[in-house]
């Protein structure tokens, strides 16, 4: 109630604020292609086909439009009322009626051909050389490189743009809102299949330059594919309303040479091994809290607030869970709360991060529990289920 009321008050003042903000923010970083008015053909064959289809249809429509409106404006000019003009009284002609039913139909058939072949192409996911499982979460993407002979490489990709830029306290950088902490990396000239799903609500994975847009439906896996023929960094955004930060879950795809890709993948796999080692270690309260703060600011802050004051989620400051029994705290963090926005983080964070974030929550925001949770505790808790 209160926060809503405050918001409405703010709104009442909005014209003033609008003017102020317009005067204050003068310059916005470098020039992106700011006057782009058309779709881009992108960097894939499918993208080029879609672009061609798009242009063909635009031109067909322009021609029809010119003809139709020319006739309309001609009558507007030539057939205005004047003393010597008696309006004609004709009001029927089966011939023209048939003509203007059949001609548009034929035009549509002409459009349908390239549309059909392109669509068939888009649906052909055969012969892909690699699979990436893409999972949408509120409000981040998870990429999992499926490895038929071993462990999958997986990581989350979060928005990197800081709050200060968003709230106009700092200048906005070149890739404002379109930058992430860890981009997806794929090799050039390789057919990559995307398996798209979601963990909570529906999201949609869209990178215009790759001409891929596929909805991520919780509980179902959709397929899409791409084969990029140009090195570069391609950016996109979530395209299905998915809640508060729908506008803040960008996608970045880094297309690199095969070799570079292989190295990157090997490095990622090595990182995973390192985490495994960390899991066996004991940490001090300070180490845990420091790491936990990072994790919190990345994964929890969106719902629980910078000061643990809550928002979408309940307040952590003074929460009965965060100041109560460790097992319940772990249980909620690992399994989530069914039927609410509180996700199951057990599958999203590794045991070190889980231990850290729970420890942090128990010792921050005025929660002075003084106790700590070690990775091994998390491991055992998960095993015990």
């Amino acid at each position: 109630m209160h926060s809503q009321a405050k918001r409405l008050l703010k709104l009442a003042l909005s014209p003033v604020l609008l003017l102020l903000s317009f005067l204050s923010t003068g310059v916005w970083a470098e020039e992106a292609p700011r006057w782009q008015v058309n779709m881009s053909p992108g960097v894939t064959e499918v993208g080029a086909k879609i672009y061609d289809l798009h242009m063909t249809v635009i031109w067909i429509c322009v021609v029809i439009g010119v003809v139709v409106f020319a006739i309309m404006f001609y009558s507007i000019l030539a057939h205005r009322k004047s003393p010597d003009r008696e309006p004609a009284q004709f009001h029927e002609s089966t011939t023209v009626e048939i003509a203007w039913t059949v001609i548009p139909f034929i035009i549509l058939v002409v459009m349908a051909f390239p549309a059909t072949t392109t669509l068939i192409d888009i649906y052909n996911t055969d012969d892909a050389e690699m699979d990436i499982l893409i999972t949408g979460y509120q409000w981040k993407w998870k990429y999992e490189y499926i490895n038929p002979e071993g462990e999958n490489v997986k990581f989350f990709s979060n928005l990197r743009t800081g709050k200060t830029e968003i709230y106009n306290e700092d200048d906005k950088g070149e890739h404002y809102l379109l930058e992430v902490d860890e981009p997806m990396v794929i090799p050039v000239n390789t057919k990559v299949r995307f398996l798209v799903t979601a963990n909570d609500v529906i999201h949609s994975w869209w990178v215009p330059a790759l001409a891929v847009k596929k909805d991520a439906i919780p509980g179902f896996i959709n397929e899409a594919w791409t084969e990029v023929n140009q090195l570069g960094v391609y950016r996109g955004q979530c395209a299905e309303l998915c809640g508060r930060d729908h506008g803040f879950m960008p996608i970045v795809v880094n297309v690199v040479e095969r070799e570079e890709y292989d190295n990157w993948l090997a490095e990622k796999a090595a990182d995973a091994v390192k985490i495994k080692e960390l899991m066996a270690q004991e940490f001090t309260l300070d180490e845990l809290a420091a790491r936990g703060k990072d994790v919190y600011m990345r994964s929890c802050v969106a719902c629980h607030g910078v000061n643990g004051e809550g928002g979408v989620g309940k307040a952590i400051a003074g929460s009965a869970v965060a100041t109560g029994d460790i097992a319940t705290h772990l249980e909620i963090t690992i399994n989530g709360v069914p039927g609410t926005a509180m996700q199951a983080f057990g599958g999203q964070l590794n045991d070190v991060d889980l231990a850290a974030v729970v420890t942090y929550q128990r010792n921050a925001f005025g929660n002075n529990m003084g106790d700590k949770v070690q990775p091994i505790d998390v491991y055992q808790f998960k095993q015990g289920q």
Partner: protein, 324 residues
């Protein structure tokens, strides 16, 4: 229906101002606000606040029902006072017919949903056809209808380990409601319900014939029997729900099978209650007030149309929910 010509023209009755629409609105909106609040208390509430939601609901509902009562009483009185032209009566008939059509569409959605989940979603979830890759999410799920094991059940670790966060908990039933084999046929309630409802369609028709022949006794008797059959049907339906919940473990939360089963039969049951109530009113009008004549009995006719409609829906249900 072509427009009538001049000679048959009677003045169309346009009623004076009326408070009924306003009262009906107040009642209905109050009731729904109360109901919404009650549901919210149940699902989102803290349990400590007392919002009086059920009280608001009941007051609103009572006011609404009272208004409808007055409303219908007024129209009946107007008709008996001879204010309604043939044309107005035809308007009423058209109104009722299109109302029934809208109800048909309402049921069509639920049948459509049933068709969609049974024939498409189930196989997809089990990794067939277009859902080929779904095996990554539900590796052990295999599909059959009635769905006795939900995809969630099939995941090792159940609700906690499922690949989608934050669902509720859906546990499949122990037994389903379909045909239990010839030896148990006598205990198969849906069959008896079918018999009951189908015969009630006949009895209401016989009552109608009686009315048209001006045979009041026949009307009263057969209409009474129809109402009784309606009550019988609803009672058996309640018994069946009891069995489903207590003996079969089939609940609203038993995944999509329980969902579609209860929603389809539930809405049908609700409509049977409505139809039965309408017929009951007509029966009371016929027996206690001597309403209706052989050629003017729209209230009766509309109720019987409604009853036939409810009957047809049941046939669909019996086929698609119980047998196939």
């Amino acid at each position: 229906m072509a427009a009538q010509d001049d000679s048959t023209y009677e003045a169309y009755y346009v009623p004076e101002q009326s408070k009924m629409a306003l009262c009906a609105t107040i009642g209905l909106v109050t009731a729904l606000i109360g109901l919404a609040t009650a549901f919210n208390d149940m699902t989102f509430g803290e349990g400590t606040e007392n919002t009086h939601s059920w009280l608001i609901f009941n007051l609103g509902l009572a006011f609404f029902v009272g208004t409808l009562f007055v409303w219908f009483r007024t129209t009946i009185r107007e008709n008996r006072a001879g204010m309604n032209s043939a044309q107005l009566k035809h308007s009423y008939a058209i109104g009722m017919q299109w109302f029934i059509f809208s109800e048909v569409m309402f049921f069509a959605v639920f049948f459509g949903a049933l068709f969609y989940v049974r024939n498409l979603v189930g196989p997809w979830l089990a990794g067939e056809g277009a859902g080929e890759m779904n095996y990554l999410l539900w590796p052990d799920f295999s599909y059959s209808w009635p769905m006795m094991e939900t995809p969630q059940d099939s995941v090792v670790g159940g609700a906690a380990a499922q690949p989608i966060a934050n669902n509720g908990v859906y546990t499949g039933p122990e037994r389903d409601m379909s045909f239990p084999g010839w030896s148990n046929i006598a205990h198969w309630l849906p069959l008896w319900n079918t018999v009951i409802l189908l015969s009630s369609s006949f009895t209401v028709h016989i009552a109608h014939l009686g009315l048209k022949q001006n045979n009041r006794a026949k009307l009263n008797l057969w209409l009474g029997i129809t109402v009784f059959l309606g009550i019988l049907f609803v009672s058996l339906q309640i018994l069946e729900y009891y069995e489903a919940y207590v003996e079969y473990g089939l609940k609203l939360t038993s995944g999509i099978y329980g969902t579609t089963f209860f929603m389809l039969t539930g809405f049908h049951g609700f409509h049977v209650c409505l139809g039965m109530f309408m017929l009951l009113i007509q029966w009371l009008r016929a027996t206690t007030a001597g309403h209706f004549t052989a050629d003017d009995h729209f209230g009766f006719e509309a109720s019987s149309w409604y009853w036939h409609f409810v009957d047809v829906v049941w046939v669909g249900l019996f086929l698609f929910v119980y047998i196939l």
